[in-house]
Amino acid sequence: MIKRRDFLKLSALATPGALTFGNVFAQSDAIKFGCPVPMSGAFAANGKYADMGMKLVLQKYGKVLGKNLTYTTIDTEGKPATAVRKLQEAVDQGTHFFAGGILSSESLAMGKEAEKTKSIFITTAGADEITGSECNAATFRWSVPTFGAIAQTVRPLLEKLPKAKRWYTITPQYVFGDGLLNAAKDVFKEKGIEHVGNSYHSLAEKEFSGYLTNAMAAKPDVLLLLNFGSQASDALRQAVSFGMKNNMTILMAWASGLEQFEALGPDICDGVYFGAQYWHAIDSPFNKEFVSFVNSSLKIDPNYSFAGSYICTKIVLDAIIKANSTDPKAVIAAMEGVKYEGLTGVEEIRKGDHQVIKNYYLLKGKAKSKMRNKNDFADIVSFGKSFLPLDKTMCKMT
């Protein structure tokens, strides 16, 4: 549980003036950022931490090119239409730099809008299309897409469990879930795995017992959860209550990181495999520096939503400095092809599709008795970089 005082301290970051200490209001030429994330609904916890991540990095930079940095929280409610409408409103008020869009559906919609309005949008959402068939010059992505998430979780787990030949999947029915499912099916086909069933579910679902009953009836060796955020937590919690951890291996292909482990607790996570974009214990120079900074600033370990938003905003800020301009066209040029020390080691923004090339991690939850501190929920089992070659992404940058 987050301590009340800690949360109030974190929330205080959101108060007007906390960011630029008041003089922001007098600056009409300030550099304006927008954080379009779900602040209400099922994915609000991710949104609230992403919001904090953006605030902290803007606070750290203070001024860029002699200008103050301002920022607006945009509650997308996890709905593409709402996200686009609110992004348009922010652009009308002079904001052209956006980092957010936790869900793939809203990110795809906002990326198109960013291009139309000559803005920049950088996201942590997962659907392959974002830097694939729907790519555009204004959109960048820090997170590994669904193809890489499956490659770095299903493949290493198959190597560890060569006898696990029957897999069952539970999938949210939208572009992100389908991306993960299709990538998983390709690996199953290649490796001779029997896909014994899949249960699709809606984005509004909270009750997973029916889908788990289907899965148990299929008697799989591995239950592969392809959902995200609180839905993935609910599915896992209910799977454990049905005793499934005792009869099969459970893999959550795209965990939302530390916040998810905190919400579930070690008893549920113990022995479960998780795919992760980010983990606070990653052994890279910049991550160590970042974790130390967040520890000293906020007295917390950074989670994925927080870290993703922080690094996405930082990438844009560094590009503004490099370009010595706030013209989005010049900033885009400065972002393309850049190599930098990132949270997962050296990261690179591929020019052809605006995809950040970075590691993806396979974690294994550990027992409470083996945790060295309150956030030591998992060990890193393996990691690596898996991306479709540029000519296979279907990205035609305009």
Binding site: R4, Y200, S202, E207, S209, G243
Partner: protein, 286 residues
Amino acid sequence: MNIYILQIANGIGIGMLYFLLAVGLSIVFGLLRFVNFSHGAFYLIGAYFSFQLGEMGLNFWWSLLVAPLIVGVFAWLVEKFVLRHIYALPHHFHILFTVGLALVLQEAVISYWGPLGNNISPPDILQGVVMLGSFIFPKYRLFVIAVTAVMALVLWWVLEGTRLGAIVRAGSESTEMVSLLGLNIDRIFSLVFALGALTAGLAGALAAPIRGVDPFMGVEALGIAFVVVVIGGLGSFFGALAGGLLVGIVQSLMSTIWSEGAHLMIYVAMAAVMLLRPNGLFGRSS
């Protein structure tokens, strides 16, 4: 065992919890003609009080008892000091106040416990599963079915077999008549409102080990509660029971038949019932 039989059994488990979630909303409407949009928030704080009491070292059984009681007392205070002053106002004032109260409670939960969800483990005796051949069911869900069934019997007895129940039923027909008999109708209103909130709080406390607690669980619960009472008929105890079971079984069965539409089918079932019986399965025509 046939998958459909498994799903029906599972659906009964879900449905009994839905019944407990919705029955308070229905009873409050039956007597007060007041649609309480903060009902989901009572479910939310019931779950969080249960979580907090557990964190403070109170055992699960006590927290299951104490958390709903706290919710009931809180609701009683809200009714006594605020709601009774707005009963006479048009419906949109009721909606405005109760939606506002729900938002305040949700934000209070976020401020105190943070935006992340938390897990609650069932007590050791209720952990694990029951296996009957190929039928596997979590012990805790069986416990929930048993508790909700007992609560259904108690509520039915209170409403049908006690003097209080007779007054409540009479009050739902004519508050003036009950007042003329010298009974304090305001006190009855407070009591019924608190009872409705208490059942929602109990549903929250019971649901917490199944789905964890998170600050947004009240909103989704309110949606389900409305579906259940619309299907069953506003104000009807048996309607809430039938509606809850119907929704649970439809949701569970559809997980096998058409999994992507399982959630949607809850609303399709509601629409179908409304077309055939506009006042719900057990509703009375106004």
